[in-house]
Symmetry: C2
Subunit: 237 residues, 2 copies
């Protein structure tokens, strides 16, 4: 997977970050809470430079704001850079994971159909092949408790769609989709095999893209998205 985000990278500042970030996004420090550098310094038993660098990163995510004479104050949640991959991951690991999963799924539902439509227009032959390959992979692993293998193909499929759209903003949501799909499989603990209807839809999307049928690719992807929302009891708008 990706390098940043998971596990305490290397370096002390990353360790501090991976302790403070989740704590803040989990709401352990309510908005307005104050962190003092020297207190953290003692708490983590590291030097000031390390704390300062961690704080700078948190500040760049808009999780905190640092002001002289007052300290580092935690910002309200609606100011956080919620598109930052690490913030997303921290929040998905924390208590408001369900809420976060819903938000992200709604975002997916808006973006992926559009991406699929564009992909139908712009996908390269290689990307079409990848798409077909992963759709077939999903079919092959859709029965008999092969959830992990299925997940791999599912993630890859959506990643290719987003990348093939040719839009960099869409492409960058690949990690988000991966997190959501992983979360769904592992948390919502699906002991049951995937919905066959969803599997079929993926195959048909791959077909539509291959045939350059943008409208159909978009509509089919919208159906996939509707299914994902239904799973989370989100009313279909």
């Amino acid at each position: 997977m990706d390098k940043q985000g998971l596990g305490a990278g290397q370096g002390l500042h990353a360790r501090v970050l991976d302790s403070l970030g989740p704590a803040i996004t989990a709401g352990e420090y309510p908005a307005g809470s104050v962190l003092r550098t020297d207190e953290l310094e003692e708490r983590f038993d590291v030097s000031r430079s390390v704390i300062r660098e961690a704080i700078r990163v948190l500040e760049s995510m808009n999780l905190v704001a640092s002001r002289r004479r007052v300290g580092v104050t935690v910002l309200p949640a609606d100011e956080w850079n919620v598109y930052d991959p690490r913030v997303i991951r921290w929040r998905l690991a924390g208590p408001d994971r369900p809420r976060q999963l819903r938000s992200l799924t709604v975002l997916r539902s808006a973006v992926e159909p559009a991406a699929a439509g564009l992909a139908a227009l712009r996908a390269t032959p290689e990307q079409c092949a990848e798409l077909t390959e992963h759709a077939l992979g999903m079919v092959a692993t859709s029965r008999g408790q092969q959830l992990d293998a299925y997940l791999v193909h599912d993630i890859a499929f959506h990643r290719v769609i987003l990348r093939a759209s040719g839009n960099e903003m869409f492409a960058r949501l690949g990690d988000v989709v991966a997190e959501v799909l992983t979360g769904r499989t592992h948390h919502h603990v699906m002991f049951t095999d995937p919905d066959p209807a969803a599997v079929t839809l993926h195959v048909r999307v791959a077909e539509a893209v291959r045939e350059r049928d943008a409208a159909r690719a978009e509509a089919l992807t919208r159906e996939i998205a509707a299914g994902a929302m239904a799973e989370l009891d989100i009313l279909a708008p």
Copy 2:
């Protein structure tokens, strides 16, 4: 506007950041370029701490990666955290502004209709009022070279829609939309008054939301988005 992003905040590290960030996103340092801290230290005439903190922030945006013995290397553009507000602003200020504007407009076109649909279901009476107020403001300022006043209402209108959707991921795109709209007005230098059709559409969206007609709000917003894409010669999918 927002605190972070514009102008060299306060503090030396912010000044370094506002010099390096735009340079990197502008492609002045091709992917793989190496920056050495002591070189930067001398170049900006600041201490190591300052450089290191700036580097940490660039690293958190995935613009660079720092490795021992080799230095700070610039990452390829497709790894950047393109949703970071500062990255967005830097890129909009740089040479690939047109490309960036297109990407963001396509993103808007995917997100805003969905947001409008949700807003119709969830907007509070206050938000409905704000919406109407800004739509009327747009009407009032749509003639006679009042582009700046018009822009204010336009931005506010779209911000309310995104916020009223009740989805935090959508809400956070308010700044992006603001940048795009501002960019369109100031760069694409519109000497002409806004398109009357677009103005009318905004009024009708406000109506639809007030009347809780999600489908209509979504469809009308889709029309607005199509107009924005047409302005940039993006083929409507």
